[in-house]
């Protein structure tokens, strides 16, 4: 009993009170492109990028849906145009919103969906399917339910059975061997239901976009309602995206 109390006292208060305001120290979250000219014909950043995130170079445009946040681009830029911030408000409802440039430095703020707020604003059950995820995304998905982020406080929980779920969270690039299980799992969700893409692999294929072992047709038929970028995304990126979209604890 005394030992147990000692553990309880050592535990203290761990939860993050204001999730929207939380800013993880030194997280390499979002690239920032300075508004300056590039050296002529320079493509050092694009060549250094392992996931083809530089979708254009004139002007420089980065697809957050492909960016794996490795930061390998920043040190090779001769103009020092690229830096990273710890921003966690980077989720988007439209795929194209993840394209950023010097003139559009971040995805637009997420507007509350009246329909989703009504259906799931007070209770949302999610089923996670890892389809080639490397356990980075899966670890961060687990973290959103831990004592720090504790998304359960707003009625958002991960469940074991797709029959109990409202939404399917996909992580990983969707391997050929997981394409069918993923479809079967989604078919088992009762309506209304939705799909959410968590991480660069799920959004775009990420580092594996060109691998022949990837089969992503599922996403053609089931367009995600929320894209959570990162490799892996910080738990707060999902937390902020979901809370904004569902209109939870609005300021």
């Amino acid at each position: 009993m005394l030992r147990s109390l000692r553990v309880r006292i050592s535990q203290g208060r761990q939860y993050i009170g204001d999730l929207r305001a939380a800013a993880p120290a030194n997280f390499r979250g979002m690239p920032v492109i300075a508004d300056a000219a590039c050296a002529p014909a320079c493509r050092a950043c694009a060549d250094a990028c392992p996931s083809n995130a530089f979708v254009s170079l004139d002007p420089v445009q980065i697809d957050l849906g492909r960016c794996v946040q490795c930061g390998d681009c920043a040190p090779v830029c001769p103009e020092k145009k690229l830096t990273f911030t710890n921003a966690c408000h980077t989720a988007a409802v439209l795929r194209d919103d993840l394209l950023i440039s010097a003139h559009r430095p971040a995805p637009p703020p997420i507007a509350v969906s009246a329909a989703l707020h009504k259906q799931f604003g007070r209770s949302l059950r999610l089923r996670s399917v890892s389809a080639g995820g490397c356990n980075g995304c899966e670890s961060e998905l687990n973290a959103v339910s831990n004592v720090n982020f504790d998304l359960g406080r707003y009625g958002i929980e991960f469940v074991a059975s797709p029959r109990h779920a409202d939404g399917l969270v996909i992580s990983g690039p969707i391997t050929r061997n997981m394409a069918e299980p993923l479809q079967l799992c989604f078919d088992a969700l009762p309506r209304p239901r939705f799909v959410l893409a968590f991480g660069a692999c799920a959004i775009s294929g990420g580092l594996f976009a060109e691998a022949p072992q990837i089969e992503r047709q599922f996403l053609d038929a089931n367009v995600p309602i929320l894209y959570v970028p990162g490799c892996p995304p910080h738990p707060l990126t999902l937390v902020n995206g979901l809370m904004d979209l569902l209109g939870i604890a609005l300021p």
């Binding site: 050592s10 399917v129 356990n135 831990n146 061997n177």
Partner: protein, 484 residues
């Protein structure tokens, strides 16, 4: 000098398949251990075989050529530690392996799962339980087929491959500068363990020597990863047996440690930290002075919760004598890493192949004797303690600011380079082979999970099916690390 955790060999003259088979058998009979053994198809249709062996002298390599017509007599029956390697060679190259008892696919289901010929156990009271690929949690996919008599599991057959992304081929197709980011996702919870093994192989091949301080920063990254992942595993075991204080407290202690990694390199998983030629982020003197306070508090809290766990009768009742792997079985099956050490084997590459970081600051060897779930949990508590003490010593080393990355120049032709690193699960092994023009023509990555999955299947024999979750958590294996 202790043996090196890497090996470079140029222009190896291959043995014939008979000579290779004979040499491999002789070395294993003499007590050497196979670390990895893989095949690569050559342009002329022959299969190039490479076996990495370890004995007291350190690492050595055997190279042979076999042809598809002749095949290669399997050695698995005599040396079960080779079973998964021979299965993989057969799957990746098509080389016939006559005499192998079970050439089950390692990661590419040959037919739709419904048609896959699982083992069948027959009898009036016998039943099967099929679980997965999608499991009841936020976890990677794999299929488990339990053959049971009542509650008791007679055998568990594990079918993996659902996560196969073709990462080895991608590393060869992409520019070498993109390889590290890919390697970090072989098993995303072992980013440092894999990337360090890859850096060791590539730097050895390119003749690049990083500074001692860079090696220490890499080891700091590795030990932070080990502590964090051991805490994840302990938290999982605690939650599975309803020991909730362990579940939450170990969980939040993990948060402290991965946030420390993030402060040092920008990522909670050590992404972007290690690169061939050095580290992208060093540790400045001011930061190195600040961390020990945090670690001291961590040590206190860790001891408090671990004492509760270790003295709780209900914990002991659930974990003792469950999922036991004897030392003999662990040795025979070639199990590695923490699973092997929990079964009393002296198998830690930080001790056997310490490299410069662990030569300068040795890591005392941990082990447990009983080989059950309790032993694997107790070992992880012990290793966390040792790693934190080691980290405190390492952070006192002056000059951990990293120098800029050294460039990796042209690679030598016809060269094999292998790097080994003791990640948190066990030894990760990366092998690179160049062609006559110095271009990479083969890449082999090996996660410790490849060898330990079969250990889990064996550990479950004779146990209750309800004990599977804690057995599984105590092995804590990677699906994508196996599936690649």
């Amino acid at each position: 000098m202790p043996p090196s955790p890497y090996l470079v060999a140029s222009s190896l003259s291959p043995l014939t398949h008979v000579g290779f088979n004979h040499a491999l058998r002789e070395r294993l009979e003499a007590g050497a251990r196979a670390l990895t053994y893989f095949g690569a198809p050559l342009a002329d249709g022959a299969i190039e075989l490479t076996a990495l062996l370890q004995d007291e002298q350190g690492l050595s390599v055997l190279r042979g050529h076999a042809t598809g017509d002749a095949g290669l007599p399997a050695l698995t029956v005599q040396f079960p530690q080779l079973h998964i390697f021979e299965r993989e060679i057969h799957e990746q190259t098509g080389l016939p392996m006559p005499g192998h008892p079970w050439l089950k696919p390692v990661r590419s289901p040959v037919a739709p799962m419904a048609a896959y010929p699982f083992f069948k156990m027959e009898g009036k009271e016998v039943h099967e339980v099929a679980v997965g690929p999608i499991h009841a949690g936020v976890i990677e996919p794999g299929h488990f087929r339990f053959m049971c008599l009542g509650e008791q599991v007679h055998h568990l057959e594990i079918q993996l491959g659902f996560q196969h992304r073709g990462i080895e081929a991608l590393v060869l197709q992409r520019p070498l500068a993109h390889a590290a980011a890919l390697v970090e996702t072989i098993a995303g919870d072992t980013s440092i363990g894999h990337t360090w093994a890859f850096c060791r192989a590539l730097e050895a091949m390119a003749g690049v020597t990083v500074t001692d301080e860079v090696e220490i920063v890499r080891a700091i990254a590795l030990e932070l990863e080990r502590v964090a992942m051991h805490l994840t595993g302990l938290s999982g075991i605690a939650t599975d047996i309803g020991f909730l204080q362990g579940g939450t407290t170990w969980g939040r202690l993990r948060t402290t440690l991965i946030n420390l990694s993030m402060q040092l390199c920008g990522s909670r998983f050590g992404r972007g930290w290690l690169r061939p030629g050095g580290v992208r982020f060093g540790i400045d003197a001011e930061t190195a002075r600040r961390i020990p306070d945090l670690l001291a508090q961590f040590q206190r809290d860790m001891r408090t919760v671990s004492a509760l766990f270790e003295t709780s009768l209900s914990v002991a009742g659930r974990l003792h004598e469950v999922g036991t792997v004897t030392a003999e079985t662990a040795r025979e099956l070639g199990l590695v890493g923490m699973v092997a050490r929990a079964s009393s084997l002296d198998l830690d590459q930080r001790v056997a192949l310490p490299g410069r970081a662990y030569t300068r600051l040795p890591m005392p060897h941990a082990k447990q004797l009983t080989g059950d779930v309790w032993a694997r949990a107790a070992l992880r508590i012990d290793e966390i303690g040792r790693s934190v003490v080691w980290l405190l010593q390492a952070l006192a080393v002056p000059g951990l600011d990293a120098p800029p990355l050294q460039p990796i120049g042209a690679l030598p032709p016809d060269t094999l380079a292998i790097g080994v690193c003791e990640g948190w699960r066990g030894e990760t092994i990366h092998a690179l082979q160049t062609d006559a023009n110095g271009k990479l023509r083969h890449f082999k990555a090996q996660d410790p999970s490849l060898r330990n999955w079969f250990g889990l299947a064996v550990a479950l024999r004779g146990n209750d099916i309800s004990d599977f979750p804690i057995c599984n958590k105590s092995f804590d294996l990677s699906y994508c690390g196996n599936d690649l």
